[in-house]
């Protein structure tokens, strides 16, 4: 049994690679504005969406791209303006730092048992919302 199937077998999200990408922050390039840009940063979109959907079920008050974008952006120095303006590399560093601070300050959320930083969970939620809005 490999890592991925193990997670499924234990009733997990099957998104081990997704959180790995979250932990290591290997974001994609491209620079769409605001929520589009944030939502598109995650490499493993399928896994991120799985987490994101679970997060949105757990925190329905944030089921809005605008809310999620604002919440993520407020964790970046300079806010939304900076999110739109800075390079991918710089944004990557800032979001990694924001997540580490989330963990440090116990701003965590439990999504189907996974202990995640709020910032990374919200990025996943953005990815989920974007996928929902995109025709198959």
């Amino acid at each position: 049994m490999r890592r991925g199937t193990f997670l499924l077998a234990t009733g997990g999200l099957g998104v081990s690679l997704a959180w790995r990408s979250l932990g290591m922050w290997p974001f994609l390039g491209g620079a769409p504005a605001g929520s589009e840009r944030l939502a598109g940063l995650l490499r493993n979109e399928e896994g991120a969406c799985t987490i994101g959907r679970a997060y949105l079920r757990a925190v329905p008050a944030e089921a809005s791209s605008a809310v999620l974008t604002a919440r993520v952006a407020e964790r970046v120095p300079g806010g939304l303006t900076a999110v739109d303006a800075i390079s991918d590399d710089r944004l990557r560093v800032l979001l990694v730092e924001a997540s580490a601070e989330d963990f440090r300050d116990l701003r965590t959320v439990e999504v189907q048992g996974w202990v995640l930083a709020r910032t990374e969970a919200r990025l996943c939620a953005l990815a989920a919302m974007r996928a929902r809005a995109t025709p198959a």
Partner: protein
């Protein structure tokens, strides 16, 4: 010396200064400490030198509370007692483990750590550990795999020292000392069935002993020490109800209550960021030849702030498709045949085909999983198994049942009860661990059964039965006083983990031995006068 109770003439009344009932960790320690003193000591041991199913069956009992498994499984009823299958893990209680915890009733000891430090030092010598030092600084040396690089002290790595396997069965490792002690007689196959008192019910005069073959005799002594484990200590007090209808020491209904364990279950998984998170520190390994293993725990400050008790997190590696038998190993070995790097260290150089060294084959057959891990080296996930310091709970108890054993003694039932504090402890500690693991970039933690009421199916005891004759200065809060003397009794003492009022997160054996040494010192000092 050793003697056989089956050879004692029926109806004999043996006499001693001290009668110790039970020859496990506590009883053997008492006997060793009293050896060479002027006191005449008789130790009554139910079993012989080896395991015997008929004797072991005297332990049979029922579980009527939280599922516990076979009640006799954690215990062994022959010379050495439960040390005969002891894993050898030792760690002393910390200062905070003795303190009452705000918001958690019945916690705290009447003793403080400095009261026990001298006895811990001697206990270390009994089990022949190399050092009294359990600090991370001592064990996380450059010769050891490193502890996880956590970035705060909210979750900490700790160590348990492990007693060498040949020392663990104390009945074997100290057999010659016991045989040579001129003032100590260890009477094998002697089962105590009742404790007799004078008319006042406050002074023990003798104990009744029986063998499975039907022999019966008694032992009179000046002082008696119960050292039969948490279940049997309570059982013996409860069945001894000739003068005290509720049983000896049970005037406040506390005997058998506050049964404690170190409940354990798989509470979560850590899925590492990398393929090799180097968790060797958390597996059994040696530094300078000395065996120890690491574990994770919440810091005492966190426990105190959150109103929690201790909790150990053991890391158990999950190697996914690692084979579990030799045939499986062979299949994997074939599959790996193309991996030259792996093979080079294991095969005879220059051979026309890969021929493993003989010792490689032998080791592989003995432990296919470890060998496979050596070859593959990747980890699927790390199981997080919790060992909870159970909160004291008067409803968690040993009770007598109508059924009797082969000697006519009432059997017992265990009504094991856990509390919300125990459940909350797991949840909050795992949440904190998840945050610290994420912060350090080690991976992510998934909590199994998050915030669910009740307990998972794999919940079990940690094979550490404690707390049925708890220690307190107040007779309304405990069965024994700080000297381990039964409240209301002049000459009856209890040794072993049944006196623990709060179990700590540490394994109990070192504390059992330390308390036994302390009791022996007191008996020597007071009885010599």
């Amino acid at each position: 010396m050793f003697a056989d109770a089956r050879s004692v003439p029926r109806g004999t009344n043996l006499t001693a200064d001290v009668c110790v009932i039970g020859a496990g960790a506590a009883g053997i320690t008492l006997a060793l400490e009293l050896a060479g003193s002027p006191l005449r000591v008789i130790v009554l041991e139910s079993g012989g030198f080896e395991f015997d199913a008929e004797t072991q069956a005297l332990y049979d009992g029922r579980s009527i509370g939280v599922p516990y498994g076979d009640l006799d499984l954690p215990r062994l009823r022959y010379l050495g007692g439960t040390t005969n299958h002891w894993a050898g893990e030792c760690r002393p209680f910390e200062e905070a483990d003795f303190e009452a915890r705000e918001g958690i009733p019945y916690t705290g000891w009447p003793l403080k750590k400095p009261d026990l430090d001298p006895f811990y030092a001697r206990a270390v010598e009994v089990v022949r550990l190399p050092t009294h030092d359990w600090s991370l600084g001592h064990w996380a040396s450059e010769d050891s795999p490193p502890p996880l690089p956590l970035r705060s002290d909210r979750i900490v790595s700790r160590v348990v020292q492990e007693v060498e396997p040949d020392i663990r069965p104390l009945g074997e490792s100290y057999r010659e000392e016991l045989r040579a002690a001129p003032n100590v007689t260890v009477l094998l196959h002697a089962n105590v069935t009742a404790i007799e008192t004078d008319r006042s019910g406050r002074t023990v005069t003798s104990v009744e002993a029986a063998t499975l073959g039907g022999n019966r005799f008694s032992v009179a002594a000046e002082t008696f020490v119960l050292a039969t484990g948490a279940v049997e200590n309570a059982r013996l007090l409860l069945v001894s109800n000739d003068r005290q209808p509720n049983g000896l020491g049970n005037q406040n209904g506390l005997v058998g209550r506050f049964f404690l364990e170190h409940p354990r279950f798989l509470a979560g998984y850590l899925v590492p960021s990398g393929a090799d998170p180097n968790l060797g520190f958390y597996r059994d390994h040696r530094v300078d030849g000395h065996l120890f293993t690491g574990f994770l725990a919440s810091a005492k400050e966190f426990q105190l702030a959150e109103g929690l008790l201790d909790l150990q997190i053991r890391l158990e590696l999950d190697y996914g498709d690692a084979p579990d038998d030799a045939a499986g190993f062979a299949r994997h070995l074939m599959a790996l045949a193309g991996d030259i790097d792996s093979w080079q260290e294991l095969t005879i150089p220059g051979a026309p085909v890969p021929i493993p060294y003989l010792d490689v084959i032998r080791e592989a057959l003995e432990d296919p999983e470890d060998t496979y891990v050596y070859l593959r080296g990747d980890i699927d996930a790390i199981g997080l198994t919790t060992r909870i310091e159970q909160a004291p709970n008067p409803a968690s108890r040993i009770v007598l049942v109508r059924e009797r054993d082969d000697l006519g003694m009432h059997r017992v039932a265990l009504d094991w009860r856990l509390s919300d504090v125990d459940r909350r402890n797991v949840q909050q500690t795992l949440e904190l661990l998840g945050a610290e693991i994420g912060r350090a970039g080690i991976g992510r933690v998934r909590i199994l059964h998050p915030n669910e009421p009740g307990w998972p199916d794999d919940l079990n005891g940690g094979q550490h039965q404690m707390g049925t004759t708890r220690m307190s200065d107040d007779p309304k809060q405990g069965v024994v006083d700080r000297q381990c003397r039964v409240h209301g009794m002049s000459n009856l003492f209890v040794a072993g983990s049944s006196v623990f009022p709060t179990p700590g997160g540490a394994t109990p054996t070192l504390m059992i031995i330390a308390l036994a040494i302390r009791l022996a010192d007191r008996l020597k000092a007071t009885m010599a006068r």
